[in-house]
Amino acid sequence: MLQKKILEVNGLKQYFGSASNPIKAVDDISFYVYEGETLGLVGESGSGKSTTGRSIIRLYDVTGGDIHFKGQNIAAIKSRKDLKHFNKEMQMIFQDPYASLNPRMTASEIITEGFDIHGMYKNKKERAEKVAELLEAVGLNRMHASRYAHEFSGGQRQRIGIARALSLDPSFIIADEPISALDVSIQAQVVNLLKQIQRERNLTYLFIAHDLSMVKYISDRIAVMYRGKIVEIGPADDIYNTPRHPYTKSLLSAVPQPDPLSERTRTRIPYVHEETDGDMIAHEVSTDHYVFATSEQLARWQL
């Protein structure tokens, strides 16, 4: 199957702090995302998942590497006009539905913020119609437009966040743990909504999460991050059924099963970090399934 790569990240580095003693939040990662798919990015807290997402969308100035989106190196965009054009193409859904909506703005103001910035839909009636359309697209009532953020529940707030991300009609959406702050019963609703919107609008997702069962459900491919590096990336089924990297195995062993019988026998595999001195490269172990390791490690993990 020949698929078009919509996003290609090469050697992305994002360091914070002083140059002499940098904190390497993201350390030389490379991956790509096919058009129309969902790439799940998983890893423990502090592994650099969110930083990766924020670097790609240019919330941070990247330390090194390049990011090609639709053929354009967005890490090098300098002019405001080009950046604005890129903003229309790529949007983000945030983690905390309580912090991601301005408490002084109504739902309608939040959704139309992008229109103000880009000078779209100047006509008042047209704009109200667009807001109503977006609210209904995310499963809210068009009457909700005049309400403030605090008058909504967590799930509804996240839907407003999604409507805002959709307002500029992007083709790529980075979802930064969009469900982890939500009630479990609401998580499924929001994930289903995201899937439905993806089908309707032909969107590509970079889905950042730490809940592996949700990621499995929504992702076509999965990348596993650990300590600022992608240790394993591949099709969702391959990662789940034939994980190669011990960290991935450890992570998968931690997923609770909705089955008391298997849950009784489930044992967690601890992961012991090993310092390596050889060259770490990405080995393709099966089609599209890469493991980041030295040759010696790979041979050992084969067993």
Binding site: L59, P103, E151, R164
Partner: protein
């Protein structure tokens, strides 16, 4: 490892009618209508506003229509309040009622000017420093530090050496040092707000600095700004009174509440009304400003919407 298979749509919602659930209980109203409504609920703030309006109107009207001028010496000295002279007269035989309202002009003018300087210089300075961060922030705040290190009184005294005493040196001194407190508070607010996810969201939408300041930072820092402002206004009125009391304020025969209190102080034992009236109006004005500021802050916070 066993795996529970999840199908598409396995989580469909059953037994919930969203349409019914999300019906609105109240009609939508505009933001400012709501602010007005909430402000009106606060009795103290409404009283404060009424008092301020009355004081302002009196300050505008009384000196124009009164039969006396604030500098007229009427030949009746230290009269107690009477039908002829409502607040009495002072030691030079001037009508205190007229002088109070002429003085109100100066006190209100200096208070409002201080507030404007606070807003114009302080808010802009603070938002830029907080938003830029890093070296810019450092330089801007060190400049502010240096300016606070210079006492206001000293600046006024130095200015009086080169210019006439009066309102001009006071206002210039306010421009130099008066806004630093506001800049600090706004900077602190901005620094906490700028890392909120809604600001990041606006940046991913392509928002520029001006948009962020206007739409996100100022509205969310408005509570703190208003509170600081309601403290600045009375502080400025006080400062003017204090400087006039020391003889560094408006020159005679012009009246200000400060000079009147200063003169009245000397005669406290024998003619107490000469101190009472200016002191009463200073207190009343400051109290009214505080009440209005408090009410405004609450009214502007949509979280308090019922």
């Amino acid at each position: 490892m066993t795996e529970q298979k999840l199908r598409d749509g396995a989580f469909d919602i059953v037994g919930m009618h969203r349409e019914e659930q999300e019906q609105l209980s109240s009609k939508p109203v505009s933001f400012w209508k709501e602010v007005l409504y909430r402000f009106k609920q606060n009795k103290l703030a409404v009283c404060g506003l009424i008092v301020l309006i009355i004081i302002a109107l009196m300050a505008i009207i009384v000196p124009e229509v009164s039969q006396y001028k604030y500098s007229d010496q009427l030949g009746v000295y230290n009269q107690p309040p009477s039908a002829e002279h409502w607040f009495g007269t002072d030691d030079l035989g001037r009508d205190i009622f007229v002088r109070i309202w002429a003085g109100a002009r100066i006190s209100l003018f200096i208070g409002i000017t201080a507030a404007l300087i606070d807003v114009i210089i302080g808010v802009i300075w603070g938002s830029i420093a907080g938003l830029a961060g890093g070296r810019t922030d450092n330089i801007m705040m060190r400049i502010a530090d240096v300016l606070t290190a210079v006492p206001y009184l000293l600046v006024v005294i130095i200015l009086i050496v080169v210019m006439e005493p009066g309102l001009v040196p006071m206002i210039i001194a306010l421009c130099i040092t008066g806004w630093v407190n506001m800049a600090r508070i706004v900077r602190g607010e901005v620094m906490s707000i700028k890392n909120q996810e809604y600001v990041l969201a606006a940046r991913t939408l392509g928002a520029g600095t001006a948009h962020l300041i206007r739409k996100h930072l100022i509205p969310n820092a408005l509570g703190a700004i208003l509170v600081t402002m309601t403290l600045t206004v009375p502080a400025a009125i006080f400062t003017e009174a204090f400087l006039s009391y020391l003889g560094l304020g408006v020159p005679a025969p012009r009246a200000s509440w400060g000079t009147m209190a200063s003169e009245g102080n000397k005669a406290l034992m024998s003619y107490p009304w000469r101190l009472f009236f200016p002191a009463f109006f200073i207190s009343l004005t400051i109290f009214a400003f505080n009440a209005v500021g408090d009410g405004l802050r609450d009214a502007l916070d949509p979280k308090l919407r019922k």
